[in-house]
């Protein structure tokens, strides 16, 4: 049985003026680490809020562990853990007080479920008397995760848990998620960091309330249809401008220290003529190579397509 299912879920705001979720259907298997990948405003938070019973969908139905999000909302609230995008614990309570409070609200105690949060809590323990509002971003996330886990939820909803968190803490956070997954907890996580996408079992690329692609990260990358090249030179700004003047280019954009581009016709000849073209333009230290696409590349490509469609 699927842990989460969505059937034709639609959600609008302001009496239908803003379409946040547009007829989305998918399901998440039990024990899966499922990622919703998309930029801000793509509709990720709305999906989370519908699944955590905080919002009612306009159309469609959804279930969490077999419970309907509208009818059985009370049941769902007892068996899921939710970490909203914004830090939402009591800032004027200490780490320990927050944890104890949420444990009691869920009808349990910290002691009883300590093994569930032990790995994370040991990192927080030195600060247990500090008020939550005074914690660093990474510590806040850990505390929020602890509070979401304290009642041994069956499904964990994490809405952009790593936004505003440093690289090291982000890495730690994903290691924690891997451990939770190993315990059999179904996890649905959203992020706008594409590099985190590969750490999920399956990812849904979402934009404008629609799912553009849904597959494992490997499949998503494999589905990238064109050959992708990476170029760099000593003057990247000039390079990008020059590349854009070439007719053979399908699309190109800056990606880290390289410029990624694909050709309308990826033949050896065209590759050579492009390097020649760039050399003539006077690019120095030119590097031109083929590269494997990342999830980000897939996303940008899909983004370009929807742009094209809407125009």
């Amino acid at each position: 049985m699927s842990a989460i299912t969505l059937n034709n879920i639609t959600k609008t705001y302001n009496k239908g003026a803003v379409l946040a979720v547009d007829d989305i259907s998918f399901s998440v298997e039990k024990g899966e680490l499922f990622g919703l990948i998309g930029p801000d405003g793509a509709g990720k938070t709305s999906i989370f809020r519908i699944l955590t019973t905080l919002l009612l969908p306009d159309k469609g139905s959804a279930t969490v562990v077999g419970n309907d999000v509208v009818k059985d909302f009370h049941k769902i609230r007892g068996i899921v853990g939710y970490m909203p995008g914004r830090f939402s614990l009591y800032q004027d309570l200490t780490v320990e007080e927050n944890l104890n409070f949420f444990a009691t609200v869920f009808g349990t105690t910290v002691k009883e479920n300590y093994d569930q949060i032990k790995d994370i809590y040991v990192m927080l323990e030195p600060f247990k008397d500090r008020r939550a509002g005074k914690l660093s971003g990474g510590m806040k996330q850990k505390l929020a995760l602890c509070c979401a886990l304290i009642h041994k939820p069956e499904v964990l909803f994490l809405d952009e848990p790593t936004t505003g968190v440093d690289v090291v803490s982000r890495k730690e956070f994903w290691e924690m998620l891997a451990r939770l997954k190993a315990q059999g907890i179904t996890i649905m996580v959203s992020t706008s960091y594409m590099d985190e996408a590969t750490l999920c079992d399956r990812i849904a690329l979402i934009l404008g309330g629609k799912i553009l692609s849904l597959a494992t990260p490997e499949e998503t990358i494999k589905a990238y249809p064109e050959k992708l090249y990476a170029v760099k030179s000593s003057n990247m700004h000039k390079l990008l401008k020059d590349i854009r003047t070439n007719d053979e280019i399908l699309n190109c954009y800056a990606a880290g220290e390289y410029i990624h581009l694909s050709l309308k016709n990826a033949t050896k000849e065209n590759e050579n003529s492009l390097t020649k073209f760039l050399a003539e333009k006077g690019e120095s230290d030119l590097v031109f190579k083929e590269t494997t696409p990342t999830v980000e590349d897939c996303f940008i490509r899909l983004l370009g397509n929807t742009d094209g469609n809407s125009n």
């Binding site: 909302f73 009370h74 899921v80 939402s88 614990l89 609200v105 009808g107």
Partner: protein
């Protein structure tokens, strides 16, 4: 039940860790009592007056001495002629002028009739009235003494007793008013912010995704403010007994009992505002404008309800402070027992049930 106590504990932590609000909670009543008790009083003291004594005889001097010895008047100047009075008033700080005609005492003895002219600055009609009354009393008192020695013809004397407040002090009127107002201020405003704050800070989002009971949340929000309000009540009562010499005539236990009822009414009203408002700012404004104004105007504390147009009189019945004001006056000043105030208490009880039911119904179990 464990959940409920966890909520209460959390609410207490919120209250005690917010030092500024806590200071306001206890500062406001003290400041109000001190202000109303010592500064903003209806009693008029040390008014500047001028005297034109054209008689300069025994009677006029005795009356002037009597006037000067009261705390109400301060004789600023003795003028030489009535023509200077106008200038004295225009100079500003003179509230009253008293003119004795020539041959005042002789007229009094032989013509059996003498006149004193009293000219008051009536730009503030209340003050003008009160001051002339004071003068009338003092002159009448002098005359009574005079008549005691001289055999007087038949006359009717008024023997007036001012019940419950023989000295006509301001305190008996305003202390119940301040209690009614401060309780409302603390309870409605503080609680009205409390639920909205959770919405604004986002903590409601996490809280909602838990198997909590809305009733627990609502009641737990009210408990700390109930305790604080009772402490506040004690502070006000101590201040009024020891600083303003206003004894509590009735049963203290009864006073606390009915005050608790009123506090609970105010708290439930605050919760109702809180469940409806969408921002702390909105809740503040609503409770300040929507509650404070009617309480001040329609509780009978500043303006007597009997003098109001019919529609306002009817409206005043919806103001909890009106009923509490009646109760406190009855218990504190008149020393009456519960049998005299059960109706008012029952009305407050009914209001509480109404507000609580409405806030529970209003409590949103989802976002939006």
């Amino acid at each position: 039940m464990k959940q409920f106590f966890a909520f209460i504990k959390k609410e207490f932590s919120h209250v005690f860790r917010d030092r500024k609000t806590l200071l306001m909670l206890f500062g406001v009543p003290v400041v109000q009592i001190v202000l109303f008790g010592f500064a903003l009083t209806n009693e008029i003291k040390n008014s500047n007056i001028v005297i034109v004594d054209n008689a300069k005889d025994m009677a006029s001097q005795q009356i002037i001495n009597k006037l000067a010895s009261t705390p109400y008047f301060h004789i600023k100047k003795e003028l030489l002629s009535s023509s200077q009075i106008d200038a004295a008033f225009k100079a500003g700080d003179v509230k009253l002028a008293i003119v004795f005609p020539a041959n005042f005492y002789t007229d009094l003895l032989h013509a059996n009739k003498a006149q004193i002219q009293v000219i008051a600055d009536a730009s503030d009609p209340n003050t003008g009235n009160t001051l002339t009354n004071y003068v009338t009393y003092i002159v009448a008192d002098y005359q009574a003494n005079l008549n005691a020695t001289i055999k007087a013809p038949e006359q009717i004397t008024l023997d007036t007793r001012m019940l419950y407040n023989p000295d006509l002090k301001g305190a008996p009127n305003f202390v119940p008013g301040v209690i009614a107002m401060v309780m409302l201020l603390v309870c409605v405003m503080m609680t009205s912010i409390s639920i909205v704050r959770e919405k604004e800070l986002g903590t409601m989002e996490v809280l909602l995704v838990s198997p909590f009971k809305p009733l627990y949340v609502i009641l737990a929000k009210a408990v700390p403010y109930l305790v604080l309000s009772l402490v506040n009540l004690t502070v006000i009562l101590l201040l009024s007994v020891f600083a303003l010499d206003l004894p509590i005539k009735g049963s203290i236990l009864l006073l606390y009992g009915v005050s608790t009822m009123y506090i609970i009414t105010s708290l439930s009203l605050g919760l109702l505002v809180s469940t409806g408002a969408s921002s702390q700012q909105g809740a503040m404004t609503l409770s300040l404008v929507g509650m404070m104004l009617p309480t001040l105007m329609l509780s009978g504390y500043i303006y007597p309800i009997e003098n109001m147009p019919m529609i306002l009189q009817v409206l005043s019945n919806a103001v909890p402070a009106k009923w509490f004001y009646i109760i406190v006056k009855a218990v504190m000043l008149k020393g009456l027992g519960f049998s005299y105030i059960w109706k008012e208490t029952l009305i407050l009880f009914g209001m509480t049930i109404f507000f609580l039911t409405l806030s529970l119904r209003n409590f949103k179990i989802r976002l939006e």
